[in-house]
């Protein structure tokens, strides 16, 4: 048989093969799926579960901070004597909660939801692709993430409990910590592998699989945001992997990468060779973790930009400067990391360099935020739930960003660095900032994933409750921080006399957190109830212009009924003289 007929026969067999597999079984459809939409939903749901779990850890911590040393017998019974004997929290357990809250929120909650969830589900649809470029690698990425999550959760049950050295795992404390830290490191290696596989996939998909006519400057802003984010994940995570490998060597093989000479632990001199450099860990960690901050925020920028353009019925104000700012931001995020380390006693020359780059990187962030705010100008705004969350994002991220400026300057950072001011600052960026952006995205793309809208009333209760509670939680922390209360204290500052006048704010924060948990209930109910009972909608319920709205809701395997084509830029709303109020990218 000649080569040609062989190929034809193989092609025919392939068609038959595809027809035979019209209805893949349960496992292939929902668990081991290679469909980007299913993987996106897997990521999003797992991410939401981890967000809820991480939030629960924090609610426990808030109890200890508001009422330090008070017994909570019920919790004592549930969590056992090794953690809360008689209901009084042990310091080690508090440390576990703190380290795991940060780790879970950042690496298992927000990033999987923002990049794994929204990136996987929305990006291929928005560029008119049938799937990701490497569907099986995509599946492997989710599986690695899942294994990483399981490893992190398992670490709560090993002797000595989970990691206790903060989400930053600073050496040398982390090197001499209990077994949980080894699990943390192994879990991180899984998560890094997962994000590497994802990042390669996103970049390749964006470059190769965009629809005909969809040039780079016709990308929706969300695609740009994911594109830059993927580069950050691709290039910033490997140094943490290197650091993780070295810390693992320190813990398992007894090396001294991060252990200086002459360490004495509990009155005993360590037998390690010594000569290592604890600051090396900090450099490698923050070399990842500062770009990671932008990994947290850029997808939210993208989501908010989509929703603002759609609900103001106007093009984005300054699309091109926003895109250029995004690229510049991504580049600069690699040269600011040591502003997290002003307290390490670095020289003034180093500090001057890093505070200068930090001030420079604030410019593109401000450009993007300003462009988003100016996009509202003169719009006839539709106040639906996604738009409310997007609007809430703007001032909340603004507060978070602007309060970061004093932390970027060496001189003002030193008195503020170890206080609650820092906690307030970055939580404003990530919690009412990024997470509001993510909620906005869930309400916005839910109709695409299910064919039904989420309930507006429940959504508005969720928004207003969360907005108020977020501020009740975090605004007092600015005051605590400015009063000098350290963020590293297990009793929330009760042992320091100078903190006494502001300690009541801890109680305010805590009640804010617990009440906010209640305001998440409407969201959880809405999320599940709307799958079957939400208002049925067509393919383009928001009258949007980007390509994902030309696919059926929910999109079938392969996404589009016919290969889509882009005829114009992404946000042609209210074009003067046009026949319609909006000109979709995908309509000729």
């Amino acid at each position: 048989m000649s080569q040609t007929t062989g190929t034809v026969a193989a092609g025919g067999a392939h068609v038959a093969h595809a027809a035979h597999h019209e209805e893949p079984g349960f496992w292939r459809t929902y668990v081991f799926s290679t469909d980007h939409k299913v993987i996106g939903i897997q990521y999003a749901v797992t991410g939401l579960l981890f967000l809820f779990f991480g939030f629960s850890l924090m609610m426990l911590m808030r109890y200890q901070l508001a009422y330090p040393g008070t017994a909570f017998p019920l919790l004592g019974k549930i969590l056992g004597d090794s953690r809360m004997p008689g209901g009084i929290m042990l310091p080690d357990f508090y440390n576990e909660l703190g380290a795991m809250h940060g780790t879970i929120m950042v690496f298992l909650g927000v990033v999987p939801l923002a990049v794994g969830g929204f990136g996987n589900f929305v990006l291929p649809l928005q560029i008119g692709a049938p799937d990701m470029a490497f569907p099986r690698i995509n599946m492997a990425s989710y599986q690695c993430f899942f294994l990483g999550g399981v490893t992190m959760l398992a670490s709560f049950f090993v002797p000595g409990g989970a990691a206790q050295s903060g989400w930053t795992s600073y050496a040398p404390l982390s090197v001499i910590a209990s077994q949980g830290q080894t699990f943390w490191l192994i879990g991180m290696i899984f998560l890094i592998t997962s994000s590497l596989l994802g990042a390669v996939n996103f970049i390749t998909t964006t470059i190769q699989l965009r629809a005909k006519g969809l040039t780079f400057m016709r990308f929706p802003f969300f695609v740009w945001a994911q594109f830059v984010t993927s580069f950050l994940l691709l290039l910033a995570f490997p140094p943490l992997e290197a650091a993780g490998i070295m810390q693992l060597m320190d813990r398992v093989a007894g090396t001294s990468f991060f252990l200086p000479s002459g360490l004495v632990v509990s009155g005993q001199a360590l037998t390690n060779a010594g000569g290592g450099n604890p600051l090396l860990w900090q450099h490698l960690f923050w070399f990842l973790a500062h770009p990671e901050v932008y990994v947290l925020i850029l997808p939210a920028f993208g989501i908010v930009a989509e929703i603002i353009a759609n609900n103001t019925r106007k093009p984005l104000w300054g699309y091109k400067p926003m895109v250029y700012s995004l690229g510049f931001l991504g580049f600069m995020s690699f040269v600011v990391w040591a502003h997290h380390m002003f307290m390490t006693g670095m020289g003034t020359a180093m500090a001057a360099f890093f505070q200068t780059t930090t001030m420079i990187i604030s410019i593109p962030s401000v450009v993007i935020l300003t462009a988003l705010i100016l996009s509202l100008w003169g719009g006839s705004i539709r106040y639906n739930t996604p738009m409310l969350f997007a609007l809430g994002f703007l001032p909340m991220f603004g507060i978070g960003g602007l309060t970061g400026l004093p932390l970027g300057l060496n001189v003002s950072d030193i008195p503020l660095h170890d206080t609650y001011y820092v906690i307030a600052h970055f939580h404003y960026v990530v919690a009412p900032g990024t997470i509001f952006g993510l909620f906005a995205g869930i309400y916005y793309w839910y109709p695409k994933a299910t064919g039904r809208k989420m309930n507006e009333t429940l959504g508005k209760i969720h928004f207003w409750g969360s907005l108020i509670c977020m501020n009740v939680i975090f605004m007092p922390m600015f005051k605590l921080g400015l009063a000098g209360v350290s963020r590293r204290l297990f009793d929330g500052g009760a042992s320091y006399a100078f903190a006494a006048p502001v300690l009541h704010l801890n109680v305010v924060s805590s009640w804010g957190a617990w009440i906010m948990a209640l305001f998440q209930l409407p969201f959880i109910i809405n999320f599940f109830w709307s799958i079957r009972h939400g208002q049925k909608v067509g393919d383009n319920p928001w009258e949007a212009t980007t390509i994902e709205w030309s696919a059926p809701s929910p999109p079938p395997h392969g996404n589009f009924l016919a290969p889509p084509q882009a005829y114009r830029g992404p946000y042609e709303y209210s074009v003067p003289g046009a026949a319609k109020g909006f000109q979709p990218q995908f309509e000729a």
């Binding site: 470029a133 450099n277 490698l284």
Partner: protein, 196 residues
Amino acid sequence: MEIPYTVEVRRDTGLTNGKIGIWLFLASEVMLFGALFASYILIRTGMPVWPRGDTILNVPLATFNTIVLISSSVTMVMAWASLKRNRFGTFRVYLGSTVLLGGVFLLVKYFEYSHKFENGLFPRTSNFLALYFTLTGLHMLHVIGGMAVNAYLWGPGAKLWKTNPEWFTNRVENSGLFWHFVDLVWIFLFPTLYLL
């Protein structure tokens, strides 16, 4: 459903998906080893004394291994070139040699490692040895990974040649790019650890 541009190139980028994917992966690998080399510099400059590599490590063996790896890169290219010339038999010989040369490298490394262990030299002994074992260990994992992919392409993966020769050739090329990278890492590791 077919993913476009797995075999044919996209006209405006001139690339297949796999080609972009492997280069992105290599970029992240550069960052991984880059971070380790940077750590080497920081740790070395922080130490009052640092041994010269040839006082502890076996330079002739490592030189031999360098030649082995470079040869394996040559056979890798020849394997790909054979496919381009439609000579499947020669391809198998060259790719097989690449895998075998990788095996020789690992064997030599095994003797080096066990010799160190016999003399009581472990990662914990000194920071020099810690770096040596970590860097070469991670590099060996990459060698094993590359050998596994090449062995797959030599054996079961070669079936693709019959149905889609162009795709198969691309796969060999991408695997080769990774193999050359692994080779290149060794070319940096050898002087850094053994000679400086």
